[in-house]
Amino acid sequence: MSKTYRSLKQFFSNFYLVFILIFLYAPIITMMVLSFNTSKSRTQWGGFTLAWYQQMLSDPNIISALYYTLLIAFVSALAACIIGTAAAIAIDSMKPVTKTIVLGVTNIPMLNADIVTGISLMLAFLAFGISLGFKTILISHITFNIPYVILSVMPKLKQTNKSTYEAALDLGAHPLYAFFKVVFPDIMPGVLSGFLLAFTMSLDDFIITHFTRGAGINTLSTLIYSQVRRGIQPSMYALSSVIFLTVLVLLLITNYRPRQKKSIHDTDALSGGAFHKNSLPERIQKSAMAAAAVMILFSVAFITFKKYTTASSNELYVYNWGEYIDEEVVAMFEEETGIDVTYDMFETNEEMYPVIEAGAVRYDVVCPSDYMIQKMIENDLLVEINFENVPNIHQINPTYLEMSKSFDPQNKYSVPYCWGTVGILYNTKRIQELGVEPPDSWHDLWNPALAGEILMQDSVRDAFMVALKDLGYSMNTADISQLQEAKQLLIDQKPLVQAYVIDQVRDKMIGGEAAVGVVYSGEMLYIQEEVQNLGLDYELEYVIPKEGTNLWLDSWVIPANAANKENAEKWIDFLCRPEIALRNFEYITYPTPNDGAFQLLEPELQNNKSIFPDLDHLEDSEVFQYLGDEDDAVYNALWKEVKSW
């Protein structure tokens, strides 16, 4: 082997290693950079800030998600280690046939699709009557962690010399003592790496947690997923960066060993290549121990934190859209009433519905949209609100109570919280570049000149609304031929569409990713402010298409199985106070139906037609109605056809 050949080979292998490391770490570095970005946008740099790190520490949602993530990871890894190690020892001494069967079943949670594991566990919990919550996540994590422990311990068991255990017994040791003194130290590296793996897997899991979690409990994964809807809080990046760097530093410390001068006696073994195999377990052991120690510290710290923050029997379980309230308002409510609020978030009406229906978690007050409220009323899932406890109901502009009658005919079940329209947001500069007139009709979304520049809503009813309105039909139609027509139209549009998204439209439009997007009017204020803050060279305008659109209302309702109905009514009344409604409006920027709050606004805002359009100009617009399970299924099937085209 010539020297140049060897060094060339060395060069290429190092080059390849660096390439892979860049591939692995580029997104992580990106995220770290974003954690210092003043703008919430993922594509625009707004300047350097440490604000997200501060916010991370003061955001109770993040802190509690972190607490649960670490606690679940730690407890589940620990439990998996105990159950798994015991199992591995037993499996090791089983007859081949039994062994094969047990190991086969052990492989299932590892090989099975996460989505199937998650769903199957959810079905089992509901069947067993275990309400979804902390313990169900924990059980699920233990379930998928055990195989990792078993598979880490088994090889170590195979290596152990069986006679050392027998020797210990021979010397008079009790079997337990012999195990802990003789067998356990041998398999310790396996147990530790199993623990570390289990911990990591638990930390990284999203899908299984997503299906098995319940009220008031989020892990970092589920919190992030709920934020995808309205844009990730950069404080999540900050937190992840902190976690990542902590682990990295730990890793470097445990792996750093002063370069020893190897004594000449090692060289024969060294050139034979046997050297590193001996020192490997010891290293893993050290690293794992250090990591475990820090994690225990973390967990203990957060457990104390948790004890300190919770203790009350006067409770309220709130279920709301993600980022749909000013957190301060929750704190103010708690302070004023002494009620302990468990605040939980959902992403879509469809996701919320089965949770309420199954009663897996008993929420006291929920904020669904119009058609879903209708469905809940029809299926007897709601209870009438006692308006004597909600004196501030008079602050709600009667127009919206009138509007509510389309789904709550007697205004008995719901109190409007936010409302708005759906329209087209367009990038003035991009439109010009493409030589397209500013859109004023849904039909403009079929303009071939906009190919690859359109962002559509990724939800059945919203997408069909666009097509049905364009065709001049009602967006609540159940006429199959009209729906087929709409479906065909959406299929025709698909090649022009850049992406189907939910609230990521906002960030993507600010980032200049697309020329036009279908958005909810509530995002407008934020979008225009952000465009200004970033000093972008284009403007984003909002238009309600002339064919009419979806008028929507999100209202507070009380589920029939609520345990704290009066507290729920206190909550609703509190949110109806003009100054509170104003606070929320300023935070979430979705139009408020609260007249008192509206009157407190600057005239400039009051006259912003993007946010508060004249309702008399919206005669062609409609509110979504619940169509029944069968028609829903029809919509879903047609939408699937569009998506899979």
Binding site: M1, S2, K3, I264, H265, T267, D268, S271
Partner: protein, 358 residues
């Protein structure tokens, strides 16, 4: 005479700044059985790997049958290696293992078949063609490893501690087997071991190495009987190495007692090291020998007794004898002049490693 088959010229090699071989030169004649002997870390395996082509020397060259092969990759060399832990291909049958090298060389099928049969017969494992590697014992795997190497008809076979993992009885059987094979095949063997008995039994030539230097090279008899320095003396068999003063030619003083010897040319009153093999010490009645002492230890070893005799200066002499002297018995030590081996004292540690004694 033959020209040397292998000629190592001024080979140096270091790993991570540690010198493993320092200016090593060595020639190996065709059809000889050369053993590289030394403690672990002495550089013997590295020497073998340089010949095999698995390491490149930092400086120096390797000449094979008159051709420079220093940087030739292993697969282009006309030699084969039997590895320490056999390194059999566990995913192949025995036959496939043996056929590997021949298949690489695109030999015809029938030729390969014949060779496999021949090689298995040679190592006394006929009929093992279709067995899996895992089903063989250590000794059998060792034979397969040898068979795998020799079917390629190499001119030189390198063996890296091939018997290290076998138990004593098996090891002894395999030693005879290897000698037989070498004689039948007429191949040159270079054999690496740290077991001096193995080296003495099998080799034509032994090369004793320590800390990257050749300490002594010669026939088993000369290595054993005339060690050139304390290291060789100590490493090969048991020996008593004591400080002495060369009073003049053929007379040496040890612990104040004068002994006649046969060595000359060390000058007068020169400090030297004296080597005396335990079986060369005669224990005689008090007053009849040069040095007196007390028997302090006694073990029966089968062929002979092993005793320790402590002299007043505190030195414990190792003595092998067929006569029994019980512990506590006062004895004298007598050594015949030709059984005393005189060596120069090394001036420094480095010199000691280099085995300088002229």
């Amino acid at each position: 005479m033959h020209q040397p088959l292998i000629d190592l010229q001024h080979i140096s090699k270091s790993f991570d700044g540690t010198m493993v071989l320092d200016d090593l030169s060595l020639t190996v004649k065709e059809n000889s059985f050369v053993t590289l002997l030394g403690p672990s870390g002495c550089g013997k395996t590295t020497t073998l790997r340089i010949i095999g082509g698995f390491e490149s020397p930092d400086t120096g060259s390797v000449i094979f049958d008159g051709q420079e092969i220093t940087h030739l990759p292993p697969n282009k060399r006309q030699l084969n290696t039997v590895f320490q832990k056999y390194a059999l291909f566990t995913h192949m049958t025995i036959a496939d293992n043996i056929a590997f090298g021949l298949k690489i060389k695109n030999k015809p099928k029938s030729y390969i078949q014949d060779k496999i049969k021949y090689a298995l017969k040679l190592v006394n494992l006929d009929g093992y063609e279709n067995r899996s590697v895992d089903s063989l014992s250590g000794g059998q795997q060792q034979r397969i490893a040898i068979a795998r190497a020799i079917v390629n008809e190499p001119r030189l076979l390198l063996l890296d501690e091939p018997l290290g993992a076998l138990d004593l009885k098996l090891r002894q059987d395999m030693q005879y087997e290897l000698i037989r094979l070498k004689n039948e095949l007429g191949i040159t063997f270079i054999y690496v071991t740290h077991d001096q008995e193995e080296a003495l039994t099998m080799s034509d030539t032994i090369v004793v190495m320590n800390q990257g230097y050749i300490q002594q090279m010669g026939s088993p008899e000369s290595i054993y009987n005339e060690p050139e320095n304390a290291f060789v003396a100590d490493f090969i068999g048991d020996s008593n190495i004591v400080p002495g003063i060369m009073l003049r030619d053929e007379l040496v003083e040890i612990f104040g007692a004068k002994f006649a010897c046969v060595d000359k040319g060390f000058g007068t009153n020169r400090p030297v090291d004296v080597v005396i093999r335990p079986e060369d010490i005669d224990l005689v009645a008090p007053g009849q020998g040069a040095l007196s002492g007390i028997v302090t230890h006694l073990i029966f070893k089968g062929v002979h007794y092993e005793m320790e005799v402590t002299t007043p200066d505190g030195f414990e002499w190792l003595v092998h004898s067929t006569d029994l002297f019980p512990v506590g018995r006062q004895v004298d030590i007598h050594v015949d002049p030709f059984d005393i081996q005189i060596m120069n004292k090394p001036a420094s540690e480095d010199e000691e490693a280099m085995g300088v004694n002229e």
